[in-house]
């Protein structure tokens, strides 16, 4: 499949193209190709049954389809099927780790995170801190360059038990090279966890190459259905981990007194799983594999390079953007502001109408205007990355994010929309 044919596979673009809508929020969630939609409806229409239970034909079909999905998604990241735990999403995967792995920690143990993490890789660890009195340390990296091993080293101590970092920031688009970071973590005897929500969908990712212990990612951010995601864990790491939720499926035996767990990965999958979600996710993986992940990465690299070039050429006064400008380390994510509205400071409450004074357009206004003027759909706010937004010194940013179906014309429209919004605000 070539990139100019990609859009034809997404039924929604018939409607969006007719209405002149440009979807630039794929870091939030992606559109779905008919291959994924058909896989889900095919399950409902032809194979609907529970898994791991019925010995009748339909039950066996459903189980085979579900197991195949696990194996297929595992192969996509270089993992065995036993190493793939189905969860709802990246958030649930990281919560699973904060409970199960977290239960093995003791007071004074340290966890290293970064200031560019999504809230899903911060809050579960803060909740763990409440329970276990562990310490959280943050790599405070600058917005304009990825996290480097040198940023991590000074934070490592004999108490470091977990390093949990994103492979790609959802607000900056900076791509962090995990392999050397994993090495530092492992040399210190710590577990390496990777938030792959923004990397697995957009670039070749291989768990063996990056040598992480755990990797979390979501189906809906890579053309699959929502409500299905994966936690990859090294076989031996998963085997050592205590279970997460209890219930059906995850047990081997239950007596009135006790229970024993099923083998991995089912040990972590209590209750009936999202069967059709897993099947749709697997179809999404097939679609991406067919495109080739290197080609996906190159397509997005070209779009972000074009965006940065357009930005320079456009000479828009007060346009400030964030993230590294080294496109080799930059994903298809473009966060920016038209004038920076400073973050709110409770200690120094200014009695001025700041936006008007500094001629800034608030991201909420900008994204509403971009939608109303050019049909350009952007995300605005803190993008679930409040610590980085705060470190940028702003109250919010506007973000465009690209995927396989976006084109240079979409980028052109983004800049038209920005200019139209500024004309409308007309300070």
């Amino acid at each position: 499949m070539k990139f100019d044919e990609v859009r034809e596979h997404f039924p929604i673009f018939k409607k969006l193209d007719a209405e002149g809508i440009v979807y630039l929020d794929s870091a939030s969630t992606t559109q779905k190709p008919f291959e994924v939609i058909n896989a889900v409806t095919d399950f409902y229409e032809n194979h609907c049954s529970n898994v791991h239970r019925g010995v009748y034909r339909l039950g066996e079909e459903a189980t085979e389809m579900f197991n195949h999905s696990r194996e297929n998604i595992g192969k996509f990241i270089g993992a065995k099927d036993r190493e793939i735990v189905f969860v709802r999403n990246t958030t649930e995967a990281l919560n699973l780790l904060s409970y199960s792995l977290g239960s093995t920690l003791k007071e004074g143990d340290e966890i290293i995170l970064s200031n560019s993490e999504h809230h899903s890789n911060i809050v579960p660890w803060q909740m763990l801190r409440e329970r276990k009195k562990v310490r959280l340390k943050f790599v405070n990296s600058r917005h304009d360059r990825p996290i480097s091993p040198e940023d991590l080293s000074p934070l490592i101590s004999s108490n470091t038990k977990i390093v949990s970092l994103t492979e790609c920031s959802n607000i900056l688009g900076n791509i962090n090279d995990i392999r050397p970071i994993s090495k530092i973590a492992h040399d210190a005897g710590a577990v390496m966890i990777v938030d792959g929500a923004q990397s697995v969908p957009h670039m070749p990712v291989n768990v063996k190459d990056m040598d992480c212990d755990f990797l979390a990612f979501s189906g809906h951010k890579m053309l699959g259905p929502s409500g299905i995601g994966c936690l990859y864990g090294k076989e031996e790491a998963l085997e050592e981990l205590p279970p997460f939720m209890g219930g059906g499926e995850m047990i081997r035996t239950v007596t009135k007194e006790n229970f024993s767990c099923e083998d991995i990965p089912i040990k972590f999958e209590a209750g009936t799983p999202n069967i059709e979600g897993a099947i749709g996710f697997s179809a999404a993986v097939d679609f991406l594999r067919n495109l080739g992940m290197s080609s996906v990465r190159n397509h997005e690299k070209e779009l972000i390079a074009y965006t940065l070039k357009k930005e320079e050429e456009s000479n828009i006064e007060d346009l400030i953007s964030y993230g590294t400008r080294n496109i080799e380390k930059r994903a298809g994510i473009y966060a920016f502001n038209i004038g920076e509205i400073p973050k709110f400071d409770k200690e120094h409450i200014s009695s001025e109408n700041v936006s008007v004074k500094i001629h800034a357009i608030h991201p909420h206004d900008l994204s509403s205007l971009a939608d109303r003027t050019y049909g350009v759909e952007l995300r605005s706010g803190h993008h679930c990355a409040m610590p980085m937004t705060e470190d940028l010194g702003v109250s919010a940013t506007t973000r465009a994010s690209y995927y396989v179906y976006n084109t240079r014309e979409d980028v052109d429209k983004l800049f038209e929309a920005i200019k139209a919004s500024i004309r409308r605000f007309g300070f």
Partner: protein, 128 residues
């Protein structure tokens, strides 16, 4: 109302650029800081009462045009009203006064000042 009303709304524009009752009250009876969790926008709202009557209301917003304009319109509408009248003001009233059809995310921008007022009323009269 169509979507175009948002970009063409003179009321919104006027209240955003020259918001009424913008600022702080020295010697306020109640101060509320309210944040919109979807975007981190913040309002600091001060109120002063004489008995049951709201005799002064001022605010500082750090947010979008809608949150500032909505606070401005609300402050004009509530000034001089009684506690009971303010308590009986509904979200629908506030949105109707802004006169724009807003999606759920922008509705939160429009209602941040309303939420602050209601919280302020509760705090102030609970203490009494």
């Amino acid at each position: 109302m169509t979507g175009d009303d948002y970009i063409n709304s003179e009321i919104l524009d006027e209240h955003f650029r020259t918001p009424r009752n913008f600022g702080r009250i020295t010697g306020h009876d109640v101060e509320i800081i309210e944040t919109n969790p979807t975007c981190g926008d913040t309002i600091v709202l001060d109120m002063k009462f004489k008995g049951d009557i709201l005799v002064d209301i001022k605010y500082i917003t750090r947010g979008c045009s809608i949150s500032t304009a909505a606070a401005s319109i609300l402050s004009e509408n509530l000034m001089g009203k009684t506690r009971e009248e303010i308590e009986h003001t509904t979200k629908e009233d506030v949105l109707a006064n802004i006169g724009l059809k807003l999606g759920p995310a922008r509705e939160r921008c429009a209602l941040i000042s309303y939420d602050a007022v209601q919280k302020g009323i509760k705090n102030h009269f609970k203490r009494k």
